[in-house]
């Protein structure tokens, strides 16, 4: 009997614990009851230890505003899930961090605020990339990380052997690729390629194949993803078709396993090993130092962008954003400006090099990479943030892969992607109206 009563008590205790576990943890009350203000900031992993790199630099601001900043680093592999589920349960941050393709959904849902009213004339003069955060008719993003465009690296030894110099145009590039693709050891098999490419998206996500290879060709050929009014897509027009056809023709000069490797793997395994004339990589201010350690025998340089009808290559701009759920928007905005300002960033970039966001911040990086931010600054830019962006670009990425694997012709694939996109946009604008 005793045993049974004990068992029932244990069962009741378990049930109570279960109910308690599902209940509110009372953190809200605690937060309010503790006196000082708090600001929840969610960022992606910006470096190897973002919280500890940021926290000491925030002390002055925290003291001035009597506010404690709670930084949460959200891992990339569950980034959007974390934001969506948190916003759904009303537990999102005051200040968020978003990449370009992420914005449209959150703007439409009213989850992020237009910061236009907070932009002063001084800000416009001081912040170099503020325009990159202006999208869908509002200042929804305040650039925090930028200046890492995908650029074309070349092997100086291979080019010298071919009697070539750095390519400037598409014609130069194709000519060198063709000449560089050959059997160098005489065993009858090609072991040196023109272009180290990797179009697998397994490791890096569907959009990355577009970031690394597609946008540059599209923009250099004068094409765009969206029409100016954002009501349709234009990537399947003549310029877009020509651009993709050009990339498709380049596959004969690529490493044969280009569909199995991601762009970063191809760069490391093929270009980094001196087996190709060209490779695309997301540049950084420290590439000279880094490549010197990783690829000590490689003599390299880079071209920010080739030119056909125009210049252009993709450089992401990830932004801080003011969340609509922020309790004290002025405070959150003050934080955003402080963190992206010269004082904070100059100290942060000493620890973790990155592009200067303001005119007051000096360039801190390798000399070789500086021209990306000076003479070549107009040759790279971000993506137009448009409605249904993630959906449209994911489909485009899949169709782009279909072309590269010979599953579809250029025309078929672009038509499929275009129809898919335009249907979505028609529906989107019909809903708006």
């Amino acid at each position: 009997m005793k045993k049974k009563i004990i068992s029932i008590l244990i069962v009741l205790a378990m049930s109570a614990a279960l109910c308690a576990g599902c209940g509110n943890n009372g953190s809200e009350e605690e937060k309010q009851g503790s006196g000082g203000k708090t600001l929840d900031v969610w960022v992606a992993p910006l470096d190897d230890d973002t919280v500890n790199n940021w926290k000491p630099l925030l002390k002055d601001w925290e003291k001035r505003t009597d506010c404690t900043v709670n930084i949460k680093v959200v891992p990339w592999d569950s980034y959007e899930e974390t934001y969506m589920t948190a916003l759904n349960s009303g537990e999102g941050p005051d200040v968020g961090y978003m990449y370009n393709e992420m914005f449209p959904t959150y703007i439409d849902a009213g989850a992020v605020e237009d910061m236009s009213d907070y932009v002063t004339e001084e800000d416009k003069a001081e912040y170099k990339y503020l325009g990159n955060g202006y999208m869908m008719e509002g200042q929804y993003g305040w650039p925090l990380v930028t200046g890492v465009p995908f650029v074309l690296y070349y092997n100086e030894d291979i080019l010298a052997e071919l009697g070539e110099s750095a390519p400037q145009t598409w014609e130069d590039f194709v000519r060198i690729c063709k000449a560089a693709t050959k059997d160098t050891d005489g065993d009858g098999e090609i072991d040196q390629y023109g272009y180290a490419a990797g179009m697998s998206t397994s490791e890096v996500g569907a959009m990355q194949v577009l970031n690394a290879y597609y946008y540059s060709a599209l923009w250099q050929n004068g094409g765009q993803v969206y029409s100016d009014d954002m009501k349709s897509v234009t990537f399947a027009d003549e310029a877009g078709t020509e651009a993709v056809t050009w990339i498709k023709e380049l596959t004969q000069y690529m490493n044969p396993d280009f569909m199995s490797q991601s762009w970063s793997e191809a760069f490391a395994n093929v270009f980094g090993q001196g087996k190709s004339a060209f490779g695309v990589y997301r540049s950084s201010q420290t590439d000279e130092t880094m490549f010197g350690e990783t690829y000590p025998d490689l003599k390299w340089d880079y071209v920010t962008s080739l030119k056909n009808k125009d210049y252009g290559t993709f450089g992401a701009t990830d932004c801080l954003t003011l969340m609509s759920g922020a309790e004290d928007k002025d405070l959150a905005m003050d934080f955003i400006k402080y963190v992206t300002g010269a004082e904070f960033m100059a100290q942060y970039h000493e620890k973790c090099p990155g592009a200067a966001l303001t005119v007051s911040e000096p360039y801190a990086g390798d000399e070789k990479m500086e021209r990306i931010y000076t003479e070549d600054i107009g040759k790279w830019h971000g993506l137009q943030a448009g409605p249904c962006g993630a959906d449209i670009l994911t489909q485009l990425s899949a169709d782009f892969q279909g072309i590269m694997t010979d599953d579809m012709t250029v025309e078929e694939a672009l038509k499929e992607a275009e129809d898919y996109a335009n249907n979505l946009l028609d529906e989107y604008w019909a809903d708006k109206e």
Partner: protein
């Protein structure tokens, strides 16, 4: 006093099952109901769902990506289930026959290791194996005239590779099921068969397989549902590419929900998958019932 005792006695079973009932109702039944309801809405997770009737399902029928994902899912089942069943039975028969030998014991442990490893880890490891240009791996595949680095990037082969990796990953799990079935078969049956002059093959087909039938039905059902639900492995191995060649229904539901913010649509995809699994479960139940009556 006796009455009081019997009152507690009659309440006790209900108390025992209360915690698990709460968990099941809240997290299983509740989520199924929510999923079915949200399948009829336009919902992006962040704003309130808006009722849209059968719109999501209508759209599914004309969505080529959904059709491709459905086709891939069924193809994956066709690759995984027969291979897993045959290899599971053969390996378990071998392990049971050699269970008292040191090598048999060692093999028994080794075959279960992949099951303990997380799907995501297995996916990353196999991707590295195949794409990492490792000389040993390249030489091994070279024996069969295959370049491993070309497998995951080929839209014709990627799904087969995913299926084979899944078979490798879960084989240990099914070996345990089959082994328990094999060990429960009485040795007397085999002895009687031997007296009647039956050879090894005859014993296998006339005794082992028929007596394993309930286990086979159970394992096939589990293998079916697991291959229909396979996500982490594919996500890490191919990400659904190239050109959606390895995108399954689960993967498509995931990207629709968290990549495209179309949670209502994702729920409709999940509900279709749920229907497929439900039909299979009912079929399995019928088979099991018939099987039990036969025994």
């Amino acid at each position: 006093m006796e009455k009081k005792h019997s009152g507690i006695k009659s309440l006790a079973p209900y108390a025992y099952i209360t915690p698990i009932t709460i968990i099941l109702v809240t997290f299983v039944l509740g989520s199924v109901i929510i999923s079915i309801a949200l399948g009829f809405t336009k919902y992006n997770i962040m704003t309130e769902p808006v009722f849209s009737g059968l719109d999501n399902y209508r759209r599914l029928m004309s969505d080529s990506k959904f059709m491709k994902a459905l086709k891939n899912t069924l193809e994956l089942v066709v690759i995984i289930v027969p291979l897993q069943t045959v290899s599971g039975i053969l390996v378990s028969a071998f392990l049971v026959a050699n269970r008292k030998k040191i090598l048999g014991k060692l093999a028994n442990c080794i075959v279960f290791i992949p099951v303990l490893c997380a799907d995501a880890v297995a996916g990353v490891v196999w991707r590295e194996f195949l794409n990492g240009k490792l000389p040993a791996v390249e030489q091994f595949f070279g024996l069969f005239g295959v370049d491993p680095s070309m497998l995951l990037g080929d839209s014709g082969k990627a799904l087969v590779v995913v299926g084979l990796v899944a078979v490798w990953k879960y084989m240990g799990y099914y070996v345990v099921i089959y082994s328990s079935g094999l060990l429960s078969i009485s040795g007397a049956c085999y002895e009687a068969a031997k007296v009647d002059g039956a050879g090894r093959l005859r014993c296998f087909f006339s005794i082992t397989l028929p007596m394993l039938k309930p286990m086979i039905i159970l394992a096939v059902f589990l293998s079916l549902t697991n291959s229909l639900r396979c996500f982490d492995l594919i996500f890490n191995l191919t990400g659904g590419g190239p050109n959606n060649a390895t995108t399954t229904l689960v993967l498509y539901a995931y990207t629709s929900c968290f990549g495209s913010s179309k949670a209502g649509y994702a729920m409709a995809i999940s509900n279709m998958l749920f229907t497929v699994v439900l039909v299979i479960a009912l079929m399995q139940k019928m088979l099991m019932r018939r099987d039990v009556s036969e025994i």
